[in-house]
């Protein structure tokens, strides 16, 4: 049974007449990767800043659990943060920045230098240790930013859009490192708009919209809650239309591709049986609704079925 490292309890943040975060509660467990999702402006960054102790909540409480977190307060040397708005000192050397940021987290200079070199070698950046940041490519700089968030071996790390701008090879590299963090017991709060990666990485998700919780729980349970299936049919006859069925909730067509959402409780097999035997179908697939679709439904404020 995993233990909770962080609990966020009924947290509220107000700015003048705006309430970007309104009674938000969730928890992150040790060794878990929690997907923290939401459309732009939903209140993710404001919540993350409160969790990281950069700003304080107006109401509610944020508690860290375990040795080293005195009085339930954040211990800055035990947490790591890769913000969405991130950069590096452009005119400074890579190794100097990593040693400085590790130093702020309480890592001694010699140890910080050794760990920085290990990480740089692992990411294939060993020869750039003494290069200025301005000489790095965007992908390289992003690796250095990732290293700066984890070099002090945190127990809790927030990764806000870690994959943005990365090519597929580097996405795989980051995925492996995030899995490795969780495997050694680190609690990971992952915010990303790349739903396919979130589905691969996260066991649970928290979806926030307009400052409020809309979805929270294990990914499978959330999908079950949204419980509909999606059927995709590619036809060879552009004139052919899917016959009306009481099992289908919605149908949309893009050229030769039909996307149908079944009604809650409807089984894909029953729908397939209902199709005429001579239907000009080239391909057919059925799956549970994706996280992407759930996200879009939430963003469009369509209720769960």
């Amino acid at each position: 049974m995993r233990t909770e490292l962080l609990t966020v309890d009924n947290v509220v943040k107000r700015y003048a007449n705006i309430v970007p975060v309104d009674r938000v509660s969730f928890s992150v467990r040790r060794g878990e990767i929690l997907g923290f999702l939401g459309p732009n402006g939903a209140g993710k960054t404001t919540t993350i800043r409160m969790v990281m102790g950069i700003t304080a909540p107006d109401e509610g409480a944020i508690h860290f659990h375990g040795p080293g977190f005195e009085g339930g307060r954040i211990a800055r040397e035990r947490v790591g943060y890769l913000p969405e708005e991130r950069g590096l000192y452009k005119e400074s050397r890579v190794i100097d920045i990593l040693v400085f940021l590790a130093g702020l987290k309480g890592v001694k200079s010699a140890a910080a230098r050794r760990r920085a070199m290990e990480w740089l070698e692992r990411f294939g950046l060993g020869k750039y240790a003494k290069a200025k940041v301005s000489q790095l490519s965007k992908g390289m700089a992003q690796k250095v930013q990732f290293i700066s968030a984890v070099i002090h071996e945190p127990e809790f790390v927030v990764l806000d859009e870690p994959f943005s701008g990365l090519d597929p090879v580097n996405q795989e590299l980051f995925k492996a490192e995030i899995f490795a963090l969780a495997a050694r017991g680190c609690a990971v709060l992952l915010s990303s708009h790349q739903m396919n990666l979130v589905e691969e990485l996260c066991q649970r998700i928290f979806l926030i919209h307009r400052g409020r919780r809309v979805v929270y729980g294990a990914l499978d349970e959330v999908k079950a809650e949204y419980g509909v299936h999606r059927v995709r049919i590619r036809t060879r006859d552009a004139e052919w239309t899917v016959p009306p069925s009481p099992l289908v909730e919605s149908a949309a067509r893009e050229g030769a591709l039909w996307t149908l959402h079944l009604r809650p409780g409807a089984r894909p097999l029953d729908f397939l049986k209902s199709l005429p035997g001579d239907a000009p179908i080239d391909e057919i697939s059925a799956s549970r609704i994706s996280l992407h679709d759930i996200f879009v439904r939430v963003a469009k404020e369509e209720p769960a079925p």
Binding site: R76, Y89, L101
Partner: protein
């Protein structure tokens, strides 16, 4: 505290590795040297050459004229008669000659003979002749020569501080003036050079998108304090380098009595107000920097912050004319100008201990308040990207932080 020293070390080392900083540190004393030495050089190049005149004296006035017209650029030589004097003019030995005779005393006209008749007598010679003429005429009217000297003597003006209990009467002390003026000038220089660097440093955190990462490790006050102290150390290094280059040049090349110009007795007090003044303005600048996205997009109000150190200039005249006057005291107790005016008044020995104590208390309280408010601006402003804060936003941050 550990976080503060980390930031201090980072700021110092980052700048010491920066070519622009190093070049600026070395170029500034070079510029100061050029601007102070070149005028002297030009002055010596363009200095009037020494002019020689022969004087044929028939009334016994030459010794007096030589005394009255004494100047580094003028040489007068007595000549026995006009023929010899004219011969010397023709050979170029002297520029011209003149005759002191009865006609000069009667008419007041002194004729200068030269090769081309265009020799313009120097001002010192004209002044000397005028004085000789006046004395000769008074003497002719029967007044004794010593009485003439007594009557025509020029007044000598001296300045003394009014003696009071516990204070020795005396004139202005050059050492105190130079020490205080140098510290005020260095303070102004430090505020502008370190202040500009501090501002750039705050802007850089935002421009390089580093503030959020750093603020997740240390709080805003720690970051701000580290930056202020770091840039104070950088400023001290700059001043140290400038002093190491400038003082030997001043002492050895320009022959200035540097050692005699340091008044050690005022240094501790001056140093206190120097540091307090720096901290006050550093906090003000770093707070302003946090409200800007870049210098170009900053509003006029933020830009005006950098004019505030010049408040002291308004008080300089009144302080020199009346160091213990009401305007001088207002300037002393006003935090914006206090540190400069106290340095100035220390220099001219025109400040009492209770004024310094009161000014110190006001300056410490004001610095504490500015640091507090700047920390509020810094905490919120450092997380705002893409635009400079409006006055309304700044006011809201100051109130709610």
């Amino acid at each position: 505290m550990n976080g503060v020293w980390h930031v201090v070390r980072w700021e110092v080392m980052r700048n010491l590795r920066n070519k622009q900083f190093l070049i600026g540190m070395l170029v500034t004393p070079l510029m100061i040297f050029i601007f102070s030495a070149v005028p002297r050089l030009l002055e010596s190049v363009d200095a009037p050459s020494v002019e020689q005149y022969a004087v044929v004296d028939r009334i016994g006035g030459f010794p007096a004229l030589e005394r009255y017209a004494a100047s580094e650029s003028l040489v007068l030589e007595a000549e026995a008669d006009e023929e010899k004097a004219a011969a010397r003019v023709r050979t170029g030995d002297v520029k011209g000659y003149l005759v002191l005779d009865e006609a000069f005393v009667q008419t007041g006209v002194a004729v200068i003979y030269s090769e081309d008749g265009r020799a313009r007598p120097p001002a010192d010679l004209r002044a000397g002749l005028t004085r000789l003429l006046q004395e000769s005429r008074i003497e002719r009217s029967g007044v004794d020569r010593s009485a003439v000297a007594y009557v025509t003597a020029q007044a000598v003006v001296e300045q003394r501080v009014l003696a009071d209990e516990g204070r020795a009467a005396g004139g202005l002390d050059a050492g105190r003036i130079v020490t205080a003026a140098a510290m005020a000038a260095v303070l102004l220089l430090l505020i502008f050079s370190s202040g500009a660097m501090l501002l750039q440093s705050a802007l850089q955190e935002k421009r390089d998108r580093m503030s959020e990462v750093v603020l997740s490790s240390i709080n805003a006050k720690t970051l701000m304090t580290g930056k202020i102290v770091g840039h104070l150390i950088l400023g001290a290094i700059q001043i140290g380098v400038w002093a190491a280059i400038g003082l030997p040049i001043a002492a050895l090349l320009l022959d200035l009595p540097v050692a005699r110009w340091i008044a050690w007795d005022i240094v501790p007090v001056a140093l206190f107000f120097f540091l307090a003044g720096y901290l006050f303005y550093a906090a003000l600048f770093v707070g302003a920097g946090a409200t800007m996205d870049d210098i170009q997009s900053a509003g006029n109000a933020q830009g005006l912050v950098f004019m505030l150190p010049f408040t002291a200039v308004l008080f300089i005249g009144p302080v020199i004319n009346n160091p213990e006057g009401i305007v001088s005291r207002i300037g002393t107790f006003l935090p914006l100008s206090g540190s400069f005016i106290i340095l100035l008044r220390l220099g001219i020995d025109g400040i009492r201990w209770w004024e310094m104590l009161f000014a110190a208390m006001v300056l410490i309280a004001a610095t504490f308040l500015v640091v507090l408010l700047a920390a509020r601006l810094f905490r919120v402003g450092m997380l705002m990207y893409g635009k400079s804060a409006t006055p309304k936003e700044i006011w809201r941050w100051l109130r709610h932080g």
